[in-house]
Amino acid sequence: MTERATLKIWRGLDVKAGRWEVHDVPFEPGQSVLDGLRWIRVNRDPTLAIRFSCINANACKECMIELDGKTVYACTARLEPREMTLTPLSNKNLVRDLVTEIAPPAERFTQS
């Protein structure tokens, strides 16, 4: 039983100069938003930037994004058969697309 979600995704390198991209994503009920983003990378556009590590377990806590304006983990938010708006965390510095700088300052590389 395949359903379809419409993912409206903010993309860009500069908060002030972004663009929206819309992808129609097939899914089986139960699949996650991260499953949908990974599907887009393989099947539509490998340049889409998303930070994740554990994929599925909600262990790494790296895949935080905003879904319809609310902070979620992309790996536990489920795909739904509707338009879903995905944006980077608005309270963190943007890196690219859905990726933000979420590491604590003491865990970022600095020159010595």
Binding site: T47, F52, N56, A57, C75, Q111
Partner: protein
């Protein structure tokens, strides 16, 4: 002309911040060295440690009398004659000490009547595995070590650093060149000693139980820098990875702890138990080892007795709901949120890539055969032979991490000054700064590689399949080209994929070649065309790079003789 790189200097560089890397960093800093702890992901969040669900094997004897020598015997038996015995002994002998230190750091191992609980796990002669409830062992290990790292002075942390190549001065390792993921800039890390703690290679497979950054990068770094790898054909498949229904927010190896505590029944699509037909009658208990379990499940599927999604069933329907709740409390609610009621339905499970027995060849000081290069944790090959005993992975991460930190610190202290400039800095920086306009779908290439490895270099192997996989690896390597795609700014995904693929393709080739060369079945190497264990193959295989090619060699003496 490469971009001007960012630079850092340190006594000890640790690549990878799972349990092994963090323990190594703490130990090297305690010895008085400056440490840079770098990770491809965020510190202490990626990798395998955080994914561990339950068991940590250690001869504490807190409930049942035990001694490290019993744990050692079980480890050697599981390893099917190929364990590097000094490494296996170190794992078992130093395990209790590290587990107690973790307790002092506040991990909170599960206790009953004041004593640390030790659970029974397949392959052990007595209850030996400590854990943190509920399915929280890995996150607790990571958190405890992160806190300990933060309390140790002398450790700098740097996440989002993708190490591209080790730096060499003659044959000595003097640091690493990296891509800073956040900015896209190249980085030169100069170090007196370098520890690879990057974990295993399970990302090479379509079905796996690990993080996205487990593409075998440490093996590739070591190989390209001139170090040897050992036992690369032995990839452990975890027999009962979750397959269906779709389950999110949980790790796919979660059924292991369920089986430890509750037994459970493995069933084919006739709803009949089948493991007795493969020599292991379970009778509701969890006793089947990982290699036999994976084999039995794949054979049932091949015979047309598999479940709808291509695995078998695992059932806890005979377990009263009160017992399920007592054993796994909050996890039962998380399952319910996924529409899974274990009292009413079985779930589907199948073998998934879980752990790598092979890795960087190292001695008991964790020194590789390249001076200045050390390894720790799963990145080290040999301790577990042809098949790892359940519960040994976290123990090995802690023990080998601590030892690597100590050895690397001693090595660094013997050097009075920072090493001279490396021979290959310029080449590495040029690669990191290069860009091509080719329209590569790197995400699809990763998936294609994973499919080839799963189908043909998986839990069951034969010559035709292994040759098919090597052909696919050749094709992908050709498509891959010489230069990374992308714009070179921050988090350029195709560029990151490309540097990952550079490692993955090399390591996949080593695994497939080693599996093809070993014409026998032993532990995790299951050859359909050579179904018997052969006494002629009681040897370890080493892999090295010569003139850009992977070259395999058999150890000159059998494993047991080599170790004695």
């Amino acid at each position: 002309m490469p971009l001007e790189p960012m630079r850092a200097e340190t006594d000890v560089l640790v690549i990878g911040s799972g349990a092994a890397g963090m323990y190594a960093a703490i130990e090297a800093a305690r010895a008085g060295c400056s440490v840079l702890l770098a990770d491809r992901s965020l510190i202490g969040r990626g990798g395998a440690t955080v994914m561990a669900q339950m068991t940590v094997a250690v001869a504490l004897g807190s409930q049942t009398p035990d001694h490290w020598s019993h744990h050692y015997q079980d480890t050697l038996t599981a390893g099917r004659g190929l364990c590097n015995e000094p490494l296996a002994r170190l794992l078992c002998e130093d395990g209790p000490d590290c587990i107690r230190e973790m307790e002092e750091w506040g991990i909170g191992w599960a206790r009953k009547d004041g004593r640390i609980v030790q659970a029974m796990a397949p392959g052990h002669d007595r209850p030996r595995c400590v854990y943190v409830d509920f399915l929280n062992t890995g996150p607790a290990v990571s958190k405890t070590l992160r806190t300990a790292v933060n309390k140790t002075s002398g450790i700098r942390k740097a996440g989002d650093l993708c190490v591209v190549d080790l730096l060499r001065k003659n044959n000595e390792i003097v640091g690493a060149a990296a891509l800073h993921l956040g900015s896209g800039a190249p980085v030169v890390l100069s170090a007196k000693a370098t520890i690879i703690a990057t974990g295993g290679l399970t990302r090479l497979y379509r079905r796996n139980s690990a993080s996205a950054n487990m593409g075998g990068d440490g093996y590739a770094l070591a190989l390209r820098a001139g170090a040897s790898l050992v036992d690369m054909e032995f990839v452990q498949f975890f027999p009962i990875g979750h397959l269906a229904p779709r389950l999110i927010g949980m790790d796919p190896i979660m059924w292991d702890p369920f089986r430890y505590k509750l037994g459970g029944r493995l069933l084919n699509n006739r709803m009949e138990e089948f493991t007795q037909n493969y020599g292991v009658a379970e009778d509701g208990k969890y006793i089947i080892t990982r290699d036999v379990g994976s084999y039995a499940i794949q054979k049932e599927v091949e015979a047309g007795r598999g479940s709808p999604h291509g695995g078998v069933y695992l059932s806890f329907q005979h377990v009263p709901e009160a017992d399920l709740r007592a054993a796994f409390g909050p996890v039962i609610d998380r399952l319910a949120a996924n529409g899974i009621d274990l009292t009413k339905m079985p779930i589907e499970v199948a073998p998934i890539a879980h752990y790598h027995m092979g890795g960087i060849a190292a001695d008991v000081e964790m020194q590789s055969d390249s001076p200045g290069l050390f390894a720790a944790g799963e990145a080290v090959g040999g301790a577990n032979g042809a098949n790892r005993l359940s519960g040994n992975a976290i123990t090995e991460a802690l023990v080998f991490g601590r030892r690597a930190g100590r050895s690397a610190a001693a090595y660094a202290k013997r050097m009075n000054a920072m090493p001279d400039k490396a021979d290959n800095t310029r080449a590495a920086l040029e690669l990191i700064s290069a860009s091509s306009n080719r329209d590569l779908n790197t995400a699809d290439m990763v998936q294609t590689l994973q499919a080839a490895m799963q189908d043909d270099v998986g839990a069951l192997r034969n010559e035709a399949g292994l040759r098919r996989a090597l052909d696919q690896i050749d094709r992908l390597t050709q498509e891959f080209g010489e230069l990374p795609p992308g714009d070179g700014k921050g988090f350029d995904m195709r560029r990151i994929d490309w540097f990952d693929l550079r490692n993955m393709l090399l390591v996949a080739r080593v695994v497939a070649q080693a599996a093809l060369a070993r014409t026998e079945t032993r532990g995790a190497q299951q050859r359909e065309d050579y179904p018997q264990l052969s006494p002629d193959w009681e040897f370890n295989q080493f892999a090295g790079m010569h003139d850009g090619r992977v070259v395999l060699s058999k150890a000159s003496t059998p494993a047991r003789a080599a170790a004695s």
